[in-house]
């Protein structure tokens, strides 16, 4: 690689002039370049050869000339240009000097040159790709979409979902609500507690009174007779008992039951 590069360098007619010319042209335009690799690529183009056959050594000389010229003109270059210059100076020394044993561990000059050449070729390929892209028929420039598309619309229609379960439950609940709204407690024919108190108070005068020879009367015997309505019959017993207890509380009556389920007896309290 380095041999080819050197060999090619020999054929350059007037390297110093080209170098100067290239350097000054670059310096005039430095803002137009995208960094040191871009500048290197521009310098490489001056060799007017396929990048795969580029003389790296010549390229390095040109770049270093460019840096020198910039410094001579007191131009301020971005740091990356100087870093590149340092790297290229190192590469140049490696390309020119014979390989020493301690170099073994380091990348060979040929590899470094090849890497640089690869990057230059890749960048050039991408620059060309960018140009090629820009020559493609561009939408809105040379190819046009429909100017007044009607557009595609979406009409959303609601589909109501309802299961039979929902329907039946809804109907049932409504019926239930309706029942609830008109529900009246059934009125039963019952003896009220008031009636029972009145009846018992009325009968109180005829009751045997408390005393030595007094007798007890069963509560049952005081119930109205001949009742056909079973519910009314049952309610009379309950109400009369309640009435009896009320009169006991008022101190007008005594009440007694000898054991569970035994007859209930009452008698008046004498005055």
């Amino acid at each position: 690689m380095s041999q080819t590069a050197t060999a090619l360098a020999e054929f350059v007619e007037d390297p110093p002039r080209l170098q100067e010319h290239a350097a000054d042209a670059l310096l005039l335009n430095i803002d137009g370049y995208e960094g040191p690799i871009d500048v290197l690529l521009e310098l490489a183009r001056h060799q007017k050869v396929d990048l795969t056959k580029i003389s790296i050594l010549q390229l390095v000389r040109q770049y270093l000339g460019f840096i020198e010229r910039a410094q001579a003109l007191d131009l301020e270059l971005a740091a990356e240009y100087l870093v590149m210059a340092a790297w290229l100076a190192y590469l140049k020394s490696r390309l020119l000097l014979p390989r020493t044993p301690e170099d073994e561990a380091q990348p060979g000059a040929a590899e470094m040159a090849e890497a640089l050449q690869f990057q230059l070729r890749r960048l050039e390929a991408m620059k060309k790709a960018a140009q090629d892209l820009m020559t493609l028929p561009r939408l809105g420039q040379s190819v046009f979409a429909r100017g007044a598309p009607e557009g595609l619309s979406v009409r959303t229609q609601a589909r109501w979902t309802l299961s039979l379960y929902d329907l039946l439950k809804s109907y049932g609940e409504m019926q239930q609500r309706k029942e609830g709204a008109t529900y009246d407690l059934p009125s039963f024919n019952l003896m009220t507690a008031e009636d029972a108190v009145a009846r018992l108070t009325r009968m109180l005068g005829r009751l045997p009174r408390q005393g030595l020879h007094s007798v007890w009367t069963t509560l049952e015997s005081l119930l109205p007779e001949g009742i056909k309505d079973k519910l009314y019959a049952r309610s009379t017993l309950a109400s009369m008992l309640t009435a009896g207890l009320e009169l006991v509380r008022q101190g007008k009556l005594e009440i007694r039951q000898d054991a569970n389920f035994r007859p209930i007896y009452i008698r008046g309290v004498g005055e």
């Binding site: 979902t161 809804s170 049952e220």
Partner: protein, 208 residues
Amino acid sequence: MTDISSIRVLEALLFASAEPLSVKEMHERMPAETDIGGALLALEQHYKERGVQLVERDGRWAFRTAPDLAESLVLEKSAERRLSRAAMETLAIIAYHQPITRAEIENVRGVATHKGTLDALMEEGWIKPGRRRESPGRPLTWVTTPVFLDAFSLESLSDLPGIEDLKATGLLDTRPAIEAIPTSPDLFTGIEESEAEPQEVEDVLQDI
């Protein structure tokens, strides 16, 4: 001249233009010697039977999709939505009580029915107007449709469960209070029993 090349250019021009173009505008944009009229005619003819047509409106020309395809350009999407309680109840009442007038529906529900509720049910194809009731005002009645039966996999309306069936399936909570306490005899059951067996009154009384 109406060569193929000017037809192509005009076709592209009309396609890409944001506004319909007048013949004058087309002239301005085409070579002077172009026979715009001839090219328009050729294009109109070419697109006559296609999905896109060249149409003239007020002396301006534009491509438009064929009017008979308007429906095809709209994507019908259906979104599943739950029916409102009002709609559900209204449908249920119609199903169980049909034919039923709107006033009667309102009577059953105890609230006024929004017009939209019946509309939604009708749009879905579940109900339709039935005969007019031969009563003052000749009100319209509502009935369910075969679509309704189909939607709910019912063979016929008689397959709708009765309210007692609904109770039995546990769909409806039974009234709380007396009936709901298991183990305790029903107040009314007691009456029926005592009616059936008169001698029990004595027993009951003795039980106290």
